[in-house]
Symmetry: D2
Subunit: 285 residues, 4 copies
């Protein structure tokens, strides 16, 4: 066969199977997203629609890779947690990493126009990394780390942009004003100077977005109704124990819990619509 | 600081720096592209425009990552060769792999509408892998392996689809007809039954696409003209020595060679236009 | 400095730090020990003194590396378990592996003459491997695997060598006689033909040797006595729960338990003597 | 089968095959050999016999592992170079590393009494590491680095111990005397104060020991004589080109060269005697 003389090069590929029985976390990060946000005129300190594009991409990843039990997004990053015993792609690190990164990127670009007015002016790029966590405690601490990060950053950014956009300070002046302040100082500043109670700002900005696989049941539906599976975006505290008591499926043997809602948000609407469409296509054939 | 209790999880990230002084090859592969090609009605056996989307994505990757000295694309795959002594992203494997995969994916989606009539019906996904080659001979053999692969596949596919589309055979009949045939048999079949000289078919289908970093000089330009740097797609044999004699910059100390053309193809036109636009923007500021 | 031109080669060493928070098991195996046992006329099926040399080497390793919480030896192999949170040698895999292998080998050769009549006729050689276990259950299963292995092999070997040495069968005849038999068959054979109750054979042969770090207290000592720390060889079942209830220090926060004995065996005697000697030397200075 | 429930733990072992077509260097280092040297009263600055023990261990390693083409020892370290295309132990890193480390250690302990008066007072221990070098130039630079190291250290130590042992300086005084001096200063000091021409000191101290696989031919033998293969210790400069011109078998296709000697040193004598003994044993059978 014509190829055989060169085929030995295939043997240079190295095995990169991940140790069994550990949590596999893949975190995606925007490359130079500061510049990207400016080029696309993102609102400051948070652009709701830009975050919705991130969430749409996160949901697409979880729809594609069934062994992801939780997604967590904030700012220009998204973390995905594969269940400990996943055998997806034989746990090969490069396969897992590149598929998740590619699917996220692809969905980000495709979802863009659904949420943003302005077209993409150039190709966004994300990096990805794999981190392994042996124990449940490690995994919770990882997620707590990311959520503590969004808290610290968002409180700062909220104060910073208020000072710049409403009080007319320069960036440098605002920076100096905030240097060395504690959380409580910034809360106070927001309340005293701008009449803002930080804790009443949108939870998505303060807590980031947690994606869980749930059976969605409309409040109006019959109690017996099993609902339809979907990736549900929620914006809660995940540092305390309450979250983990409520969503035991994450760390336990994986059975999607029930999620009762009054009405569907745009993300859920789209997923359910897509599912119905697929079934219709199958029915046609 | 609020995060500190959880920050230890950062230490679970593992070092994945690549051995110095080896060729780093990253190969991108379409995930389930057989299905993707059908869903988007790609022409058989080759869809010129779909290949152009791949090439556009390959060019975008090489524009972004300056240490890639050669790209090679065929079918739904693309290989990128980083120079041996690159220190891009400190040679960290996950960074290199995920950035290249993400940039390729992003550019694929963004370039789609420039070449294809039909819109993307769902998000395409690519996987990526890193393979290391210590010697120049290994690297050449790798590229030869991929080009031998396109030769074998394309000859087969060309014969197969002629039998199906023009002689009216079913897929199974065509398969049986070709089972056990040698290259010479398929060449003969194409010539005798369809009047086709395989070697005169478009080189892009038979040889794939090689991307090189060159100074593009128009034939009409003054000889002294230095030209403008661009990623040049060429469709040549790279298995023989001729190619390597002509493009010594690939294995040698990297200095982009000169590339003289009569006229610009679409890929080159776009790159040069983009460059002019950028300079104009800079000039304005 | 004279070296500097070449010193870049140091940067080719790659980081091999082990993931935090997993059990690190290092298993040492004799290289071609079948031949080695014959060359040194080991008794069949078990040579008590040869096993004592292995145990002496195992004890020496645990005396040197304080973060090993358990050793387990059988036949020509020895496993060492480092506590999950060890930071010995910064968890660098090659350091841990090579030190343990070297210390084991060195001590094996040095202990040889203390137990064996016949001198070493050539240098014994061991290989080593590192295996990581994320959960306590994984670790227990690993040790159970090794102890189940010694059970299966020793029962077979005991029956085999009885048939060969006492019933005068050839090796091949003995093999045929035992082919396809279950444990119960072999137990029965030993009892019926040789009057042997397998369960009363020395525990070291049937269960292997577990090394634990304990405070050794002589029965005759005062109850209040804290005893002296030593590596204690015991020969118990470690597959059931009883062992783990009794030695909670292994999986828990490491505090050596108490070990009450009537009299010291040779292994303990030597360790305690060495400790006294060291103290005497220090006192002298 | 009894073991099966636990056997899954075997799947936790990870593949560690080394990239093909690179030089594999394993370097062994004594653990706390400063203390070991003092405890065994090594002569300062060089103990010829202690170096002979190292060399005996190095030779034993090369006798055992046929794919090692060169050994290089100095002070308490030894490097072994496996040929680029070795498939020994399937290139598995842990196997290679642990076997070489174990064989070295074992032979060190067993060779001790052949060269040293004083018995071993405790078990010596070595660590080992694997470093990969893609090009011949890298490999030469690695070896040059180690030889430059012995030069710098030995010149310093020679001067230091002369000052301490003959001029009666304290260690600290000698240190201060040498601080900031260049090689030429130390050469001068040795010559002026002690009448020593550094370049005439034993080559083993100044250049370390290179082990090569050669056919040993006695000067007195017939020219046609093929000689007997052995590991030959030589003490030459390997930084310059001369060495590599003379021993082309190292980097080239491996064919042991010829080594003509007037008489056998102790190391060669032992190897040849061992070979004759083995043949005699085989002949007897």
């Amino acid at each position: 066969m014509a190829c055989s003389r060169y085929e030995y090069v295939k043997s240079y590929e190295q095995d990169d199977k991940i140790l069994p029985n550990v949590w596999i976390v893949i975190r995606i990060d925007g490359k130079k997203f500061h510049k990207f946000a400016n080029a696309h005129k993102f609102e400051k300190p948070n652009d709701e629609n830009a975050l919705n594009v991130m969430n749409a991409a996160g949901i697409a990843v979880m729809e594609e890779f069934r062994d992801i039990v939780l997604g967590y997004g904030q700012s220009d990053e998204y973390s995905f947690v594969f269940r400990k015993d996943t055998s997806a792609f034989k746990r090969r690190a490069a396969k897992l990493l590149s598929y998740v990164t590619s699917m996220f990127t692809s969905s980000y670009v495709l979802s863009w126009s659904q949420w943003m007015q302005r077209p993409l002016s150039y190709a966004p790029c994300f990096d990805g990394r794999i981190v392994l966590y042996p124990s449940d405690e490690n995994l919770r601490d990882y997620l707590s780390w990311r959520q503590a990060d969004v808290h610290v950053n968002n409180l700062y950014n909220t104060a910073f942009w208020k000072l710049v956009l409403e009080s007319g300070l320069t960036n440098q002046q605002a920076e100096e004003r905030l240097r060395g302040t504690f959380s409580s100082d910034k809360n106070e500043l927001l309340f005293q100077e701008f009449g803002i109670n930080y804790n009443t700002l949108p939870a998505m900005y303060r807590k980031g977005t947690i994606l869980l696989r749930k059976r969605v049941v409309l409040d109006s539906q019959d109690e017996q109704e099993k609902g339809r599976q979907a990736i549900v975006p929620i914006h809660e505290d995940l540092i305390g124990n309450e979250f983990w008591k409520q969503h035991t499926e994450i760390l336990g043997k994986y059975v999607p819990g029930k999620h009762v809602v009054n009405s569907l948000n745009k993300h859920l609407e789209r997923q359910l619509a897509k599912q119905l469409e697929k079934q219709a296509t199958i029915a046609e054939i």
